[in-house]
């Protein structure tokens, strides 16, 4: 509470001005990219997701939760040991991000701030403010058409000014938009573990790592579209996004198989 009272004090404003001035004065050294964690994915993206850029993660249907998890892992990777993550929620969505899972994905709850704003203008203001100070900022919004083009351009500019990793998380994947990379996720049946894991109750043989088809729909300066079948490992080592490619579908059509067909059906 007291924190917000300080808002009116001139000291914070002065400090902010000073920060802005130092930021303007010094040319920013190139920031390391945020690796996806798998050799093939990182090779295809020239080392991972660029900071200071907007990236879109979209998935229709139930795969949206997987996209949420991936966003959390990437943000955790970008934030590292000291950076902050600011997550702008869309209060209209029925299924909201569940913090225990995001924390398990590597985000530090002490440095994870959720922002709830019903109207898009407020959310955009928040994300632009956040981009200036956080290591990663995530925007949840359903946008399309002219608004999407306008908003994505504004976000890309905010990201370029700040150097933060900006992620747009959406359950729809409309075009066109401005973004460094655009990803689509499609669920794919996972591998059933051969050995029944210890924690499996009477309810089933247990589940293997979460599997999905990761499609790089568009990437600035990158060969696209490309897609891979990817597993999200349970690896919680700090600093890895924990993705592992199980099949490279190259840039042509994937080999016919039940996984690809069902993935299409789900999409």
């Amino acid at each position: 509470m007291d924190r917000f009272a300080q808002n009116q004090q001139p000291t914070t404003a002065r400090a902010h001005l000073r920060t802005l001035e130092t930021l303007r004065a010094s040319p920013r050294p190139p920031r390391p990219r945020v690796p996806l964690g798998d050799r093939r994915l990182d090779a295809a993206t020239a080392g991972g997701l660029a900071r200071g850029a907007l990236h879109a993660l979209t998935s229709a249907g139930p795969g949206f939760a997987t996209a949420t998890l991936l966003a959390a892992r990437l943000a955790a990777r970008a934030a590292g040991e000291a950076g902050w993550t600011i997550w702008c929620l869309a209060p209209g969505e029925r299924a909201q991000p569940f913090p225990p899972a995001l924390v398990a994905a590597g985000l530090d709850p002490a440095r994870l701030v959720f922002v709830e704003a019903r109207d898009l203008a407020s959310r955009l203001m928040a994300i632009e403010e956040a981009a200036g100070v956080a290591a990663a900022a995530i925007l949840e919004a359903r946008l399309e058409g002219e608004a999407l083009m306008r908003v994505s351009r504004r976000l890309q500019l905010a990201a370029e000014r700040s150097g933060a990793l900006l992620l747009w998380l959406s359950p729809t994947s409309p075009e066109p938009m401005v973004a460094a990379t655009r990803w689509r996720l499609h669920p794919v049946p996972s591998a059933i573990p051969q050995l029944r894991p210890l924690f499996a109750g009477p309810g089933g043989a247990g589940l293997g790592p979460l599997r999905f088809r990761l499609e790089l729909a568009r990437g600035r300066g990158l060969p696209a579209p490309r897609d891979w079948i990817v597993e999200m490992s349970d690896d919680r080592t700090p600093g890895t996004a924990g993705l592992a490619v199980v099949a490279d579908l190259a840039d042509g059509p994937a080999p016919a198989g039940p996984s690809r067909r069902t993935a299409r059906a789900a999409a």
Partner: protein
């Protein structure tokens, strides 16, 4: 004569001789009065030196012995042999004649140090009996009369005693003696009065249910570290070394020690240092109490608020000014059991709240309230084989569960009896869902036996 030095011993003087007789034999002898209180104080000083240098668990064995738990400490020295070598060298430098033994039980170590021939004894794995059976019975730490009584019965060594039929020996010699023997052989635990850590930077936990799994111990460590770091921050200190002491159900203790290069009160850093050692721990039948103390601490200035933090505060203040304070929050664990109540909202700046339990599979997105689904399950404790959510049929190809959750006993009567069995199911397209069946399948008060969808992975 209470005690004699090495040179006096080489002249043939023995402890226990009358002083007058020795004076007659060797004139010009230097004699000092025995001061038992000073001896006890010196022993305690030595104990605290051991505590500081070697192991978090040290106990006095008066009048002239010290017991130290080597497990959980010797790995920092590269093994027991190296730790003992360092100890012997330093005691020698300090002019203290010492006999040292490391054995699987405290009684055995005490007997070996006092009665084995070599000044330093390390019992190899599995060599406990071979090492202590040849020792004299006095090694068990008997009352003065008892040893003579045993010798009169022809029981000279611990081995003689161990070979007696138990029932007869118990009747004849008394159960306390047999207990000493069992403790020496490790059949019965021997709780030791370990010294308390010297300073007050301590966090304690008692567990309602004894804990034994690595996960539970890990979580306890994280809790304790968080509390200790708060204390350190309040005291303006950073830990240079932390000792974790765990009290097992049988009264014995286990310990871990971790040191830092720089004074630290970073909970993640300190917790990690302890967590990587958890594998060295033997929880026995379970751990009922744990304490974590900063046994070495150094002043550490309050965190400097850098320009980055100032900019962050300013930006969050601006967002809050526009959207209202309630629109910004950080998640923390609420001590509630049902998932939809398990997240608390904290203000965006300030101390962090309790962390979420690690390693429980939880969905990335949660539906609140849960939505009913039409599901077909073969058996009450099985996941559904088919369910319909929002008009779409999902055929289940793999599942995991159940994980049972209960309403809280302190909550409203309606919630108190709630039972939910959670399953993670994957449909044929590969999408994963978090479903639960409400109720235990028998008592209608526990739930309506319907299936609900609460989360997506």
């Amino acid at each position: 004569m209470a005690a004699v030095c090495g040179r006096a011993a080489s002249l043939g003087i023995r402890a226990g001789e009358p002083l007058a007789a020795v004076r007659v034999r060797i004139p010009g002898l230097h004699v000092a009065d025995a001061d038992e209180a000073a001896d006890a104080r010196a022993l305690e000083r030595l104990a605290h030196w051991l505590l500081a240098r070697y192991s978090p668990l040290v106990a006095l064995d008066p009048p002239d012995g010290l017991l130290m738990e080597a497990r959980g400490a010797s790995h920092l020295w590269g093994g027991e042999a190296r730790m003992v070598a360092d100890l012997a060298k330093r005691l020698g430098t300090a002019g203290i004649a010492a006999r040292i033994a490391i054995a699987p039980t405290a009684t055995a170590a005490r007997a070996l140090a006092r009665h084995a021939d070599p000044p330093v004894t390390l019992v190899p794995p599995g060599g406990l009996e071979a090492a202590i059976l040849p020792l004299p019975v006095a090694g068990l730490g008997l009352a003065p009369g008892e040893a003579a009584e045993l010798r009169r019965l022809g029981l000279a060594t611990i081995g003689d005693l161990a070979r007696l039929p138990r029932a007869a020996a118990g009747r004849r010699l008394g159960l306390p003696l047999l207990k000493r023997l069992d403790q020496a052989l490790g059949h019965v635990p021997e709780p030791l009065p370990f010294l308390a850590p010297p300073r007050a930077l301590v966090a304690n936990r008692s567990f309602a249910e004894p804990i034994a799994t690595a996960e539970a111990i890990g979580e306890a460590i994280r809790d304790l570290v968080a509390e200790l770091c708060c204390r350190l921050a309040a005291a303006g200190q950073g830990a240079r070394r932390v000792d974790l002491r765990l009290a097992r159900l049988d009264g014995s203790e286990a310990a871990l020690r971790a040191g830092t290069a720089q004074p630290s009160r970073d909970p993640q850093h300190l917790a990690r240092l302890l967590l990587i050692q958890v594998e060295h721990l033997d929880p026995g039948f379970g751990i009922e109490r744990a304490s974590l103390s900063a046994t070495l601490a150094a002043p550490l200035a309050p965190e400097q608020v850098g320009e980055a933090e100032q900019a962050l505060e300013a930006a969050l203040d601006r967002i809050a000014a526009r959207l209202g304070e309630g629109a910004l929050w950080r998640p923390a664990r609420a001590m509630r059991l049902l998932p939809e109540q398990s997240v608390a909202r904290l203000p965006p700046l300030g101390p962090a709240g309790p962390d979420f339990p690690a390693r429980l599979p939880r969905p990335a997105r949660l539906l609140d309230p849960p939505e009913t689904v039409d599901a077909i399950a073969m058996l009450p404790d099985r996941p559904p084989v088919l369910f319909t959510w929002r008009g779409v049929r999902h055929r289940v190809r793999a599942a995991d569960g159940p994980e049972r959750m209960h309403g809280e006993w302190w909550a409203t009567p309606a919630e108190r009896s709630l039972v939910r069995d959670y399953f993670i199911v994957e449909d044929e397209a590969g999408a994963r869902f978090w479903l639960f069946r409400s109720g235990d399948g028998e008592d209608p008060a526990t739930g309506d036996f319907r299936w609900y969808l609460q989360g997506l992975f």
